[in-house]
Amino acid sequence: MMLIRDLIVQGAQMFLVLALAPLLTGLVRKLKAYLLRRQGPPLLQPYRDLLRLLRKDVVLAVNASWLFRVIPYVIFAVTWVAAALVPTFGNGLLFSWSADLIAIIALLGSARFALALAGMDVGTAFGGIGSSREVMIASLAEPAILITVFAVAMIAGSTQLSTVAEFMGSSAVGLRVSLGLALFALVIVAIAENARIPVDNPATHLELTMVHEAMVLEYSGRHLALIDLSAELKLLLYISLIACMFMPWGAAEAGAGLAALLIGAVAYLMKLALCASLLAVFETSIAKMRVFRIPEFLGVALMLALLATLLRFVSGSL
């Protein structure tokens, strides 16, 4: 009985993230449009795009290898699994113990690995640009987020997300410098990882500064749909990650009743909305930076994360 309930919760979680991801993107776009005094695309536009792409033929470059065709599914699968393991509305996910925070980050890493390869498969100039920049960004972003995780995990005494979330939810935490730094670092990394302004411009399709788009340039049809969907999933994942670590309020405890779950869900939606609007404001208020300023941008995150960890090491209380 308990097991079934948990299974349902877990399943709900999986499909919830899948369903919410495009909406989130749509929301961000809409908000940005409003901030720019534009009408903007309808909120559900991302779903429409996905469906359209899914229905279209795939146009493959002549010398694309089998890897090129497999990768979209890999990326999607990996990202989805990762997203499904991040607590959203409730903590006690059935399978949350199967992968901790480090593993989730590593899963995203695998996705990025695959995407970078895809960028190089066809052997075009743009693909190479994208991949090489992507790995450069990742080589700074990954350490930053890992160290952030260290800081958080050392406070919470575990890298297990649900445990962390519970701990953060409990009143034992209080306000901590290291947590603040960690949050800041995590936000920066999230922006970089999701190819948002100022690191990358999700709206562009032909720019010498593009990174993500350059890699997926050769994709079309269902493959492109999958990749877009996984990108949206990734954004959702990061936001829920921040949410469950730094604003754990309202999330349902493990094995909580239906009401609690509903409260959690509502709380979760509100968190998403909040983060989305913050993101939109941020993106509209800042300009895209040159590719080689990005390292400095991420370096800040790295430093902050390291500082947080050091503080944690040096004095248990801060």
Partner: protein, 667 residues
Amino acid sequence: MIQAALWAVAVLLALAPVAIALSQTARGSLIVYGASLVVSTGLCAIALVILLDPARPVTAIVLPIGLPWLGAHFRIDALSAFFLVVVNFGGAAASLYALGYGRHETEPGRVLPFYPAYLAAMNIVVLADDAFSFLVAWEFMSLTSWALVVSNHRDPENLRAGYVYLLMAGFGTLVLLLAFGVLTGGSGAYDFAAIRAAHETPAVAGVVLLLALLGAGSKAGLVPLHVWLPLAHPAAPSHVSGLMSGVMTKVAVYGFVRIVFDLLGAPEWWWSMVLLAIGGPTAALGVLYALMQRDLKRVLAYSTIENIGIIFTGLGLALAFKAEGSDVIAALAFTAALLHVLNHALFKSLLFFGAGAVLTATGERDMEKLGGLIHRMPQTAVVMLVGCIAISALPPFNGFVSEWLTFQAILLSPHLPSWGLKLIIPAVGGLLALAAALAAACFVKVFGIGFLGRPRTAEAAQAKEVDGFSLAAMMLLAALCLIGGVLPGLFIDALAPVANAMVGNSMPHQSSVPWFTIVPIAESRSSYDGLLVFAFMLLSGSIASVAIHRLASDRVRRAPAWDCGFPDDSPAIQYTASSFSQPIRRVFGTLVFGAREVGEMPPPGSAATARLTVVMHDLIWEGFYAPIAKVVGFATLRINVLQFLTIRRYLTLVFVALVLLLVVLSL
């Protein structure tokens, strides 16, 4: 048991002279490698039996050879059993691979005799139970591998590589010799049992630690003692490169563990400081160097340095916790290190074999002359891909597991008492994270430039898939990489006796945890389940594909690449290895390599081509080794005058010596 093992080693040794004769014949390589394959497999089996059955008493034996009054002591305990497995599994894989690869050997007479001897030497190092046999085998290992490095002696570069290699090896051995000199304290008691029994004062033990770190580190390739490694490993035939990188560096790790964890007794906290302070930078620097290379095998060699750094970091953590008394966590860190030893042996051998396959298929090691091999060599491409993901420490493969365990150990370290450790461990953690990310970048480059895209040369375009033996060896290794990532619990449990013997405790028994999950230590609430993650990935992936192909379209049209509307047929427009790593070079290069980009623009109006040259320095070589060489060169030049003196001057020397001695007497 041990008798059997020694007999097997003896067979390997006996094979060497036989090989001299066989190397002339056509079937020679087949026989030699076949025999080595059989013997290594047997040894591996023996070691596995011993490792998996901790109840079995430790077997030792003394042969009447070696030092006369001492004899040659041999012993197989858990530690040596584990490393025997590593050595001989690597040996077996390499032999299997060489069954096919060896046929392309131009001068088999320079490879075949040394190959089995090399395998035997590595085995003896692990089996040896007294200082003398240990060092003999240790240096014999260097010697045989050196012979293999210079097997292609026509290339002066290889000769230079061999020279640097043998010199560094000699340095390492002499330093270890000093270490044992301290340990035995001038008494003739060289057997490990006696050394174990004698307890050194902290100061002496510290000296031994540093000496051991120098000696074993120079063989393992710790920065800044690594310079020989990227020269020597690529120079050897690829199956030997695999052995050197994948296995011999591990034998060096064994030597370090044997001396520091086993012979030296209780550690001091500052030991771990030293190890961490070296291990972390080694990891980061190694992979940075790797990123800057364009020679496939050299990339792999440098990445070996990175992994050695990770391993030594693990060992350093283990020492820290052991010194502080929390041996449960020490066991975690130690197991992480050993697991990484095994994993790295697997995927590094795999990658070197792959590089060898590419070499046979195209005759090229320079990645910028490759490309598109995934079309010409599909199977090799698959296994290479597995290797690349595994070494990048990404799930669901084995590299991630050991990295994950190391991180868990780091996360459990805040309560360590000493401030030095409090400050250094997070930094090291950051360096490891950086190394992991850069490794991913590095191997995206390896696979992306080498196997994806379009062929950059005719050789790459005409490449052929390699023979069955080579493929079999590589697939075996690839499969193990996957298993190690999906069912890590099995491997961790197998390591328990080793950890028990070395740090006095072991990780919780993983098989008893449901769903093949692994937990670092009982208290911590972190866990990772490779199996489930893998299952989920397969599940969701297949769900997606099936659903899409069923419900949406599954049609495919082939068309020329779009490339933003600027398609160009010339493969030259593709990103090259160096251009791929250019952004990272921009970020780290100036600091680590003093890299500069010098651009020469033609004057306005002239049609000359503008050229961009990148200047990079190996700061360690230029700052550390070149000066030494210069000093020696200067000294030799100055002192060489003594060859050209006149007889009178020589007499003056004698005279002065005489007078001096007399003065000394009369004082």
